[in-house]
Structure formats: C-alpha cells, structure tokens
C-alpha cells in the first residue's frame, strides 16, 4: 500500500534496529505503542492482584489476611496503578499505534519526545512500587493508609513512602503532559491533505480533547502534591489550619484534577466505541457532529464541577447548588453520546464479534453507572451515599465499562491489524462473558452495602454486611482470574493464527484498514489524499 520513495541510504537508516536498542531508543510510533500497551498490561495485573487481595480480606468479617495499614496501602495502590499505570498508558498505546495510521501520517510529530514520554513511565512505576514496599524495610516509616486521594492531614502523618508517591505522581504527570503535547501537535499538523478537523476519525477527536484536558489539569495536581511535600518537610502550612492554611484547599486542588481525570480515562474509550460500533453494525456513526459537540461539552462542563466529590466538607448553599446543577447537566452531553451509539446499532446489520460484545456491554453498563451518577449528583441524597460502598459500586460501573472495557474492545478490534493474525474468536467471547459476569457479581451487590451503611475503605465490617461481601468477593475472583484468559489470547495471537486481511472486519472503515496487516515498520510515507 504505502509506496516507498526513499533513497537507499535513508531506507537503511530507517530500518528497525535489532535487540534491546530497538525498544530503548525507539522513535517509531508502532513500537512505542506496543511498549505502552505491554506496560499497561503488566500494571493491569499488579493493580488487579491488589484488588483481589482487598476482596479476599473482605470475603469475611474480621481481619484475616491484611493488617489495616497494609489493607489501606493496597487500596491506595490499586487506584493509582490502575489509573496512572493501567488505563492512561493503555489509552496512550492505542493513540500511538492508531493516530498516525488513522490520519495518514508517517509517525508522531515529535518522535524523540514520544520515546521520552514512554520511558519516564517505568521509572515512575518503580517509584510507585517503592512507595508500597519501603515500609517493610527497617526505618521505612509507615504505610500509605490514605487512599489515592492522599488528603491531608492524614497524608502528613505518613512516613517517607508519601514522598516517593509524590515524586511518582510528578513523573507520571510529566509523562502524560509530554504525550499530550505530542498528540495535539500530531493531530493539528500531520493530518493527510484534505482531512479537515470535521473529517477526522472520532478516536482522534476524543484524544485531541483528552490531551487538552490533561495539559489543563495535570499541573494543578502537580502543584497540589508539591504543596503537600512542602507541608511535610519545609514547615509551610498550606493545608494546616493551625498555621493559617486550609485542609479543604487540597481537596479542591485534587478534584480540580480528579474530576476531569474521569473524562480523561473515559473519552479515548468512547472514541474506540465510535469505530467499533459502526464497523459491526455496518452503518455509519449516527451523529458525528453531535458526538464532537457532546464531547466538547462534556470536557468543558467536566472542568467546572469538581467539588461534587466533596459535598460533605461544608460548602455554602450557593456553592453546592451550583455544583449540583452543573453535575446533573453533564447528563445531557453524556446522554447524547449513549443515544448516538444506540441510534448507530438501530437498523444496523449487527454481528457480535468480541469487540462488539464489549461495545454493547459498555452501552448498557455505562448507562447504569451514569444513572447512579445522577443520583450521586443530588446533594441531599449524597449526604447518605458519600464515602459509602455505593460510591465504590458507582465509579467502578463508570470506569470499568467506560474506560477499561473500551480499551479491551479496541485491543480486540485492532489486534489483527497490529499482529497480522486473527485472535481466537471463541476464546475472545469466553473472555467477554467471564469478564462481564464477574464484574457484575463483584460490583452490583456493593450498591446495597452502601445503602445499608457500609463505609468504603474499611478493613473490617460488622456481620450485617457479610452476605453481599461474600458475593462480591466471589465475583471479584472470577473477574480477576478472567484476565489470565486475555493474556493467553494476546500471546496466542502474537505467535500465530489465521492470517488477517488488510480490512480485518467486513464493516471496518478508515485509513488504518488500507494498510497491510501487520503494517510495515513505516507507513504513510506518502500521505494519502482525502476527498
């Protein structure tokens, strides 16, 4: 497909290097994409293992397995690893692989920056893991028992692990900002001739918005944790009321980042859906323009409703009313997105390969999570739900389908393109069903636990909460172990399988399907013309 017009010297220069140099020094978007995805896969298993330990401890009342600080440390690490190590790098991996191929560009605009933004991640992950293990060594201080929100003053009591965590967050943030700059520059400058912004594939649109969100909010988090570092070591009192500071200020800074972060995790997966659903419904996306508009609206409103995570801190009536109305209004653009997906399958000619199964699952379960989100947005009712297991159930229903299942859909959708092999469809479907059933058994009962009065982040609970915790823990084991199947399918597909055609799926549209499967090391060295 890609016609090569390179001279001999250039062609030689652009061959893939062999061995470890190929990966460590890589400036190739496909190799870096692969690195991101492998990194995310490792982190998925680390974060998943910590979640399974949490659920094992909660299987029965009493403290059986984990002492309270270790439990809270795992709660903290599960969140941080999944968000910063799992979902964000996986989404960046998809972006690296797909954006140049989708817009007809030879590579990312800033290949060396691309290399740097990936290779910061293993260092950051090392810091993060160190923050977890250091307390087990003599003189290592106490464990991080704060949850991922690291609210002061509790986070001021934690030992040196907290400092490792703060620097890990800085590194992760730098990596994300660099990757975002690269994606924005690529999308704005390197689209094939004729591809106007409103002709850009939806996955590119979602990443463009995500990248802007990241650049806007990551520095705020970095500032917040730096102030925390100063409070811990240099006697400032930003968050200490006794020194004229304000503990709630940290919460505002954290959630100014934390709420847009939800959309950062969500949007790339929405982008994947906008490709998968039309492909398997064999019919164009119902409303391209309204999707773009909805996404911009979500990102804009999403930036200004952060304090709905802190309704109980004692804000004024005016403030909570504003945050409540703003949050409820987000249901309009999000509803429009879900509607667009339903209207796309409506009167389509659907088949149900694994990516489509995940896509349909997302539409159903994400709607459920979104609706419990509207319940949580209502301030007086949130006086009850806040910090209970109901919240845990809610955000897992949003983030698992909304973010993780979307990434799974993307991986299954593009795996044939990346490897040149079709994955085993039977195993793929088996993975979908065990995964989704396990997920629902885990999180559905947690709604009831929350309503009955079980707070989140507790290591031990009264026996009145036993039944639902047993069910939830059994579900969690099914859910957690099902990911071994994913690993097996991916390895099997890389090693071999039915040869994938250029257009691996009958209904797939877009420039990436014009390329060979697997694509050459360098693609679109001559830009395609878009009509």
């Amino acid at each position: 497909m890609s016609t090569t017009t390179l001279t001999h010297d250039e062609a030689h220069h652009h061959e893939a290097p062999k061995g470890w140099r190929r990966w460590l020094f890589s400036t190739n978007h496909k190799d870096i994409g692969t690195l991101y995805l492998l990194f995310a896969l490792v982190m998925l298993f680390l974060g998943g293992a910590s979640a399974m330990l949490i659920r094992l401890e909660l299987f029965q009342p009493g403290i059986q397995l984990l002492d309270p600080d270790l439990y809270n440390n795992l709660v903290t690490n599960h969140a941080l690893i999944m968000i910063f190590g799992g979902v964000m790098p996986a989404a960046a991996g998809l972006a690296n692989w797909m954006i140049p191929m989708m817009i007809g560009a030879p590579d990312m605009a800033l290949p060396r920056l691309n290399n740097l933004s990936f290779w910061i991640l293993p260092a950051a992950a090392t810091m993060l893991i160190l923050s977890f293990v250091i307390p087990f060594f003599p003189g290592g201080g106490t464990q991080i028992n704060t949850g991922w929100t690291i609210y002061p003053p509790l986070s001021l009591q934690v030992g040196m692990s907290m400092d490792f965590l703060i620097f890990a967050i800085h590194l992760l943030g730098i990596s994300s900002v660099l990757a975002s700059i690269n994606i924005i520059v690529t999308l704005l400058n390197m689209r094939a001739p004729g591809m106007t912004l409103m002709k850009m594939p939806m996955f590119c649109w979602t990443w463009l918005v995500t990248a802007f969100l990241l650049i806007l909010v990551i520095p705020v988090l970095a500032g917040g944790v730096t102030m925390l570092l100063f409070d811990r070591h240099f006697g400032t009192s930003f968050f200490d009321a006794a020194g004229g500071g304000d503990p709630v200020l940290f919460q505002h800074l954290f959630w100014f980042f934390g709420h847009p972060e939800v959309y950062i995790l969500l949007l790339p997966s929405i982008g994947v859906l906008a490709h998968v659903i039309p492909a398997f419904a064999r019919k164009p996306l119902f409303g391209y323009k309204s999707m773009v508009g909805a996404m911009l609206a979500v990102a804009t409103i999403g930036m200004v409703v952060w304090a709905h995570h802190q309704y109980t801190v004692g804000m004024s009536l005016g403030a909570v009313t504003y945050f409540m109305i703003g949050t409820i209004l987000i249901s309009i653009p999000v509803g429009l997105m879900v509607f667009n997906f339903i209207a796309t399958i409506w009167r389509g000619a659907m088949t149900f390969e694994t990516p489509m199964l995940f896509a349909v699952g997302i539409v159903l379960m994400f709607t459920f999570g979104g609706l419990s989100g509207v319940m949580l947005a209502v301030v007086p009712a949130d006086m009850q739900y806040h910090d209970s297991m109901f919240v845990v159930a809610h955000f897992h229903y949003v983030l698992m389908p909304g973010a993780v299942f979307g990434l799974f859909a993307g991986v299954f959708y593009w795996l044939p393109k990346w490897t040149g092999h079709m994955y085993d469809e039977k195993l793929g479907k088996l993975f979908f069903w065990t995964n989704v059933i396990g997920f629902n058994i885990t999180f559905f009962p947690q709604h009831f636990l929350g309503l009955a009065g079980m707070p989140r982040r507790i290591v031990d609970y009264n026996m009145m909460f036993t039944e639902f915790n047993v069910v939830s823990s059994i579900g969690a084991m099914i859910f957690g172990l099902s990911h071994l199947l994913l690993l097996y399918i991916v390895i099997k597909t890389i090693r071999g399988g039915k040869k994938a055609e250029s257009r691996a799926w009958e209904g797939a549209k877009g420039l990436e399907w014009e390329l060979d499967s697997p694509p050459a090391f360098h693609t679109w060295t001559v830009a395609p013309q878009i009509k």
Partner: protein, 398 residues
C-alpha cells in the same frame, strides 16, 4: 466528667432496633441474586427493601425523611430510564442482526430524526434533569439551612483517631465514645460503643462537626447526617428526631489505621428520659471532679487499678493492651525510653502530645486520670520502675 460506664439503662437493650442480621438469612442472598429484577420494583418495594438491608434503613428525623424521598425519586427515575434504554438496545440486538438477514439502513442518520435528534434528545434529558434538580433544590435548602432558633440544642462532635467526643454545649456534658472489642460486643462488633450519643426526640438539634487530628466523617443513616470533621473547621448539620430507638453508624472518611473502628451509636429517647440522663451525667461529673481534686495521696494499687481501665480505653487502640504498640506508627511502651526514663518527660508527652505523629495531647484528662495512666505505664508489662505518680505531680507538670 469522662465516665466510662455505658449509657444503656434507658429502655433499650444492647441490640439494634431493626432485626439483627444473623447467619440464617439466606433468603437475603437469594434476593440479592435477583438484583436485576429488583430495580424494576423499587417504587413499591421501598419499605420491604429497607427490611432486607437493600435500601436505607427507615429514617428517624424529618430531614432524613425528605432525603429518603428524593433518593427514592431519583432511583425510580433512573430505573425507568434504564428500562427504556435496555428495551431499545435489546430490541435492536434481537431484530437488527445480520444473521436474521436484516439490511443496514445506511440513510438512517440522514432522516429527519437524524437531523433533529441532537436537539430532541438533549431537550428530553434536560426535562428529566430539571425534574430532579427542582425537587433536589427544595430538599437541599431544608437540609442545609440550620433553623435559627433560640432554643436549638447544640452538640459538638469532635473526631479523634479513633474515637468520638460529644459535647453537649447546653448541658455542660462531655461523652467519650469508643469502639468495643469483639469479646464484649459480639454480633454488634464494629457497630457498638461504650458510651452512646443520647439525644431527645422532638427537639431541634444542631450538630457542630470538627476534628482534633485528621479528617473524619460522622454518619448515621437513620439521621441522614453526614458531615466531614475537619481540623480547624466547624461545620453544621441538624436533625429533629421523630422516633425513639438505637441508630448505628460509622466514621465515613478514611482516618488512618483504625478507620474501621469508629462506630457511632445514637440512642434516641423521650425528652423526659433525656432530662434524667443529663442529671445522671452531671452527678457522675461532680463525683469525678471531687475525687480528682481531693488532696489525697493515692496508693500504687489504687492508681494501677484505675490506670489499667483508662489505659485500655484511651491508649490501647494504638499502643496495644500488651504495650507492644504497632511499630513503626505506634511505638511500644513496654521497655520504651519514655515509659522507663524520667517521669517529667513521660508526663510531658502524655499532656502535650507529640507533633507530627498520631500521639495527641491528653491534657484534657484530669490530674488523677493522667497520674493513674502514667503510673500504670511505668509499672506494667516489663516496666518495673516502681514510680508512683500522684495527681499533684501532674498538676505541677502542666
């Protein structure tokens, strides 16, 4: 002042008002497995669901009832919308498949519906939003606006790592409320305390929330009061209890190691019983003050006996009953430099606390209590200093 007796003599036995949940409740398990069906029946099932622990417990205050109402309303709206979405999706999944020979309608998005849906759908969603927000706004005002009444009863709630302090500001009573270990609380483990928050029905009560160390959150579902306890802040909530009973809750904001061990028990009693209770508390307080200020030399045995009880309620959560602590966060007292070194240093750390750690100042305890605790710590486990610390020594050290 700091009585350690339980306040249970006011008509309620040591069990929750709602049916205690025992192991023989497998019907519930089945109910939960049918969860998918449940959502469709939330409207009529509200009461029954509360009974089975599937919904909030029955409210015990006016504000809580309003909150319960809006919870049921939004849950019903959410359920209806969910059913509509599921119906459309499943219809489509069934009929619009290639295997049934269905041909995709390539022009669907260009129909009039395609052109106008981006207006129609947001308008419909906005309608739903306004319905919810309108009702929510009314309820929010009554929850947020604490009644401005002269005779409102004030209770200051202070969160500590890991116990609650209740100050009845109008009655000059202070209650310390701590978790009760499993051997004494049985089935109510983690839902039972030594001293309850006793409150009268039919009186508007303002709760003032604050914290002495890290964030906590006071949460009792029947009262629908949840507010963060923030050091340096005083935040307000209010309630007017409309039925008697025992209502149980827990700390809802993560506060460190023993976050799970901060239960809250509210005992709602008639105003008459409440008056009797306050009289009893005042008598206890007067007796304790008299005892502490009596200019008396205490024998080591008396101090040790007193000190053991005080140590096990106030100190053992961190330093452990066996004095071994939970290093590195909570150092051992057994053989420690402080507990076996100069008495002055020992008194100082107990009275003033230690900056930057979970060790808080205990200066609010009276001289006798501190003397008893310090004597106990210096003469227990392997600590054999033989020191007897008298209340007078404590007075001097303050």
């Amino acid at each position: 002042m700091h009585n350690n007796h339980t306040n249970e003599a006011y008509g309620f036995e040591n069990k929750p008002l709602s049916k205690p949940r025992k192991h023989d409740r497998f019907p519930n398990l089945q109910l939960c497995l049918k969860g998918g069906l449940l959502t469709a029946t939330t409207l009529t099932m509200g009461e029954a669901m509360a009974e089975y622990g599937l919904n909030f417990p029955e409210p015990a205050a006016g504000v809580a009832r309003e909150i319960y109402g809006i919870h049921m309303m939004t849950m019903s709206i959410a359920t209806i919308l969910l059913v509509i979405v599921f119906a459309f999706v499943f219809y489509s999944l069934f009929y619009h498949r290639k295997s049934r020979g269905y041909e995709a309608d390539q022009e669907f998005h260009n129909s009039w519906f395609g052109n106008w849906s981006w207006v129609i759908v947001p308008a419909l969603v906005l309608g739903v939003d306004l319905t919810i927000a309108g009702k929510a706004d009314t309820v929010l005002k009554s929850v947020w606006d604490v009644p401005k009444e002269e005779n409102i009863m004030d209770v200051k709630i202070t969160g500590h790592q890991w116990w609650w302090e209740f100050d009845y500001l109008d009655h000059d009573i202070k209650v310390e409320s701590r978790f009760v270990p499993k051997d004494k609380s049985g089935d109510l483990y983690l839902r039972e305390v030594d001293n309850r928050l006793v409150l009268p029905t039919g009186v508007k009560i303002r709760f003032l929330h604050t914290s002495a160390d890290v964030l906590h959150a006071f949460w009792v579902p029947e009262l629908a009061v949840k507010k963060d306890a923030i050091p340096g802040y005083v935040t307000e909530t209010w309630a007017e209890l409309d039925r008697e009973g025992v209502f149980r809750g827990q700390c809802a904001e993560i506060c460190g190691t023993w976050h799970s061990r901060m239960p809250i028990v509210v005992e709602s009693v008639s105003p008459e019983r409440f008056a009797a209770w306050t009289e009893g508390q005042k008598a206890i307080k007067v007796a304790a003050a008299a005892e502490a200020s009596a200019d008396k030399e205490w024998s080591m045995d008396d101090l040790l006996a007193k000190g053991k009880g005080l140590y096990e309620t106030k100190c053992a959560a961190c330093h452990q009953v066996n004095g071994m602590g939970l290093p590195p966060a909570f150092p051992a007292l057994n053989g420690s430099a402080i507990a076996t070194g100069p008495i002055a240093d020992h008194l100082n750390i107990v009275i003033k606390g230690k900056e930057g750690t979970a060790m808080q100042p205990w200066g609010t305890l009276n001289d006798l209590e501190i003397a008893a605790i310090v004597t106990y710590e210096r003469n227990s486990w392997d600590n054999k200093t033989g020191d007897v610390v008298q209340p007078a020594d404590v007075k001097q050290a303050r």
